[in-house]
Symmetry: C2
Subunit: 562 residues, 2 copies
């Protein structure tokens, strides 16, 4: 299921996104006080799929799953870590980028979703720097090419060894006829603000750029001779650490393994259930509200650790989404449902808001932000069904606004004597969870009418029934029990009948109205072009550059400029 065309090297049927440092094959994580070192040392004999080796610190999704895990742990388990040093554990090579044989053999769907995940991991690095006080310094010795340099670009500061041979390079175009698509082109122009003609030269120069020119062209921040390297790295670590607001004395919480029970048609976590209706190309994700009121204070939250409901739910939802994205390509629609006490969810929002200056509450809010962005970027049609017994309030209401559309039942289902469904907003809907394009989901929903956002804000805390929710513009349709089943069924059947590609393109446009940011440009301008190129024979055809790389045969190109 993971990729119909290939077998996972571990013999399993699904890609597993859960790991921990004891199982890492590719990274070494060392923490010394406020500085952590993340050492990339890829085991070439531990690829995710059969059929290739991960030479020269090249990576596949398996390598990136470990990196993403390490970054999460640094946030939650090491609150005192203020600086991350990203280095290579191999001599003469920092990182050769995404593994080319893996790419050449991967299905289009895997390739695109692999790139999406690696993009999200790099965005998470920047989020940690911007919002969580955890800055990254990348120390490049040896060759740093393609995805390797794109990883470096996610850091705050790039130090290049000035040894006459260490280089940074984006050789994708000359070598492989694809783009530096993991944010590379966008970060070169928009983050590092390299002059566009220099960027043109750089991105067409297979051998890369070293030393002084790399600094002059803003590709790295400094080029430092080997003799001074340790000293400069230590100095920069101290400087960045001094700017951090992370708590020096705090003790982290353990990100304990997710407890997930999987059957052929379901995945069941503590607060999330996933049901696959494969003949209908449908997945239903049900989120459950908290079983108890919020703890008394921040210390009690820390004591609950990974069991604290908002954190547990966020981690489970994240895992469920990733599992669908990369293991269930045939899914057309994800249905979001919820079960629980609407007021209890709001109580947790209020708790997090009250403690938002506490490091752990801040991390949990930021985690939800990232998970919700992951939902926005998931190329499946998303719908929220709001029925009696549900708890789509506050943070969970963001799923209504992330969805392509929503249906809220007016009144009750025949024979169900629970009270009608209600939704309610909290402060969480008005700031902490911006989308990739930098605005809240409600701002994005009401681009035409700032007044609608204010009317929604005025309703904070009020339980809204279907009519009230519709009057405020918060849900798409509000059918009653007579129409509900038919209307939902028709929608789901219709969605499953449409071209999956056209839906992906449409949703990638309609979900991101309004402004763009560097992050949203990566997923829009850059990724969309890369996906196009990933379809073109010049890259992926029998005679294309990606297929022919390493064979000694030159690629043959269709010379038409499109």
């Amino acid at each position: 299921m993971a990729d119909a065309e290939r077998k996972l090297a571990d013999g399993k049927a699904r890609i597993d996104f859960n790991t921990d440092p004891s199982r890492y094959r590719h990274w070494k994580l060392k923490v010394e006080g406020e500085v952590a070192t993340l050492l990339m040392d890829v085991d070439e004999n531990a690829p995710l799929f059969e059929g290739y080796q991960l030479k020269l610190n090249s990576y596949d999704l398996g390598v990136d799953i470990e990196l993403a895990d390490a970054l999460e742990r640094l946030r939650f388990e090491q609150p005192q870590v203020k600086v991350i040093l990203l280095r290579s554990g191999k001599p003469r090579v920092f990182c050769a980028g995404a593994n080319i044989r893996m790419l050449a053999g991967a299905s289009h769907a895997h390739k695109v979703n692999f790139c999406k995940f690696t993009n999200e991991t790099r965005n998470a690095i920047e989020d940690a720097s911007e919002n969580s006080g955890q800055r990254m310094i990348c120390v490049v010795a040896g060759s740093c090419a393609g995805g390797g340099y794109e990883l470096a670009l996610a850091a705050d500061h790039i130090i290049l060894t000035d040894d006459g041979s260490s280089t940074v390079a984006l050789p994708e175009l000359p070598l492989l006829a694809v783009l530096p698509g993991t944010g590379g082109l966008t970060r070169v122009t928009d983050k590092r603000k390299v002059r566009r003609d220099h960027a043109d030269v750089f991105c067409t120069t297979e051998e890369g750029v070293k030393g002084k020119r790399a600094v002059e062209w803003r590709l790295v921040d400094e080029a430092v001779p080997n003799t001074r390297l340790d000293q400069v790295v230590a100095a920069r670590a101290r400087e960045f650490a001094a700017q951090s607001d992370r708590p020096s004395g705090a003790k982290g919480i353990a990100l304990t393994p997710l407890d997930v029970r999987a059957s052929a048609d379901s995945r069941s976590y503590k607060y999330v259930s996933v049901e696959f209706a494969r003949p209908e190309r449908l997945v239903t994700i049900t989120l459950r509200g908290p079983g108890a009121p919020p703890p008394a204070d921040a210390e009690a939250m820390v004591a609950q650790g990974a069991g604290f409901w908002p954190l547990a739910l966020a981690r489970e939802l994240d895992d469920a989404i990733l599992d669908i994205r990369l293991n269930e390509f045939d899914t057309a629609v994800i249905v979001f449902k919820s079960e629980g006490d609407p007021a209890a969810v709001l109580a947790y929002d209020a708790f997090l808001d009250r403690h938002k200056d506490h490091w752990l509450a801040r991390e949990i809010i930021l985690k939800w932000k990232r998970v919700l962005k992951r939902v926005d970027l998931t190329s499946r049609s998303l719908v929220a069904l709001i029925e009696p017994g549900s708890c789509f309030t506050g943070t969970l209401a963001e799923l209504i606004f992330a969805a392509d559309r929503s249906y809220m039942l007016v009144g009750r289902h025949d024979g169900d004597n629970r009270p009608p469904a209600a939704i309610a907003l909290s402060q969480a809907n008005f700031g902490p969870y911006p989308t990739a394009n930098g605005i809240t989901r409600l701002q994005s929903r009401f681009l035409a009418d700032g007044g609608a956002v204010e009317r929604a804000r005025a309703s904070i805390g009020t339980m809204l029934d279907a009519e009230a929710a519709q009057a405020l513009g918060l849900v798409t349709f509000a059918p009653d029990d007579i129409d509900w089943e038919d209307e939902i069924r028709l929608f789901l059947e219709e969605r499953a009948s449409f071209s999956p590609d056209a839906l992906t393109g449409m949703e990638a446009n309609l979900r991101f109205g309004g402004p763009e940011t560097m992050e949203s440009k990566i997923f829009a301008r850059l990724t969309a072009w890369q996906n196009w190129i990933f379809q073109r024979p010049n890259a992926v055809g029998e005679e294309g550059a990606l297929r022919r790389y390493g064979t000694g045969q030159k690629p043959v190109f269709d010379r038409k400029r499109v």
Copy 2:
């Protein structure tokens, strides 16, 4: 050459972008005082290519070439026109959008460049409204679907006949498995600010939306019963005209036919020469400076009309670029050269700046803005070669900054006793010609360093030799005569050897660093996704929706979501 797979219906080898109202087959242009009516009345028997009919006011590139021509003429020939009414000349149909059989039979390169041109035409409608006081009211009676509604979306105001049957629709996704890619999705969210869940319903509803719901969902501005239609249209025309700053009494200039002589390997205009070196996949465009100083005053400019050098040059360059885009797909690189007196070009910039409040000077400046944007969006590698005898100053220097890179000779070529090349900036480089993303080309070049823009501004009017230009960051490389030929040759050979697709994707990213606007989003987010879909078997394969449309057979989709 126009499209290797098809024959032009007129029997010619190249698509011709020049036309005039006497030759229109598809549009009727009627001017009454300050209101013009542009009537779409497509001749189904006059398609651009053989093999299809243009039924139901559907369009192909030929229809759009006439529309673009009519819009240009309304600006230059009818300065008193303040409002354009866009209507259909056919009963029961406004416009059925891009012709599906044309799309199904077109090469990928033609399809992409057709969409680019139609996008530019719609952007020009919005530019006329925003900057030239010429507002457009679209009056929809009958069915207005797909590209038809996308055309309506370019207007300032959409009036839908409320007759129980007139509808607006974007049926591309359900019907054809492609996107409303001519700005449709972006304008729905970013211009009309339709709520995204409503947009989702609208874009998946084949039959469209009519009357009251169309107004409520912001898809149109008003729905008016037939009995009141004429009255409402007249009232709106008066209201919009009252807001216009176009000169009521002015007399227009005639956009006389371009004088172009074409041979197998060249196109020669009065101020522009185009040379094709097809074995090298190279086109050289040489722009010639003015033959005389600027006229004494605005009246003299009007008297010169289409012969006025800046206008003549802009029209010729525009035609040359379009000819290459759609007739010379194998071209890898466009080389820009210039010949003339650098000071004379600056004198014209000063003249236009002095008279920028005169309607004609304003139109000419806006025309240059559009032509330069067309250059930015041309998917060929662009290079400016700056040598002795050239006149890349002011407005013409924008081509240096539009290029992917530039080379400026230090000193002279051996045996050439002309003075070394010089460039110079004018006010024109600091405002009037923003790119699609809303900033000047110099701001885009110096994203890292606003100071560099200010240093460049301080040099206005100063003739800069190669070293000075390079010190200011205005050119990429400044080789001397010893290196010049080899360096240029290597660059051109290298560029021609790369994958054309990867270059297109790379340039579409590196040329547009920094902010995005609605316009740039159309070309980035929307177009890139549409281009991807235009490659996918679900749309264009043998069993795809675009191929199977109208055959009675249902399309067969690969169900994988990517």
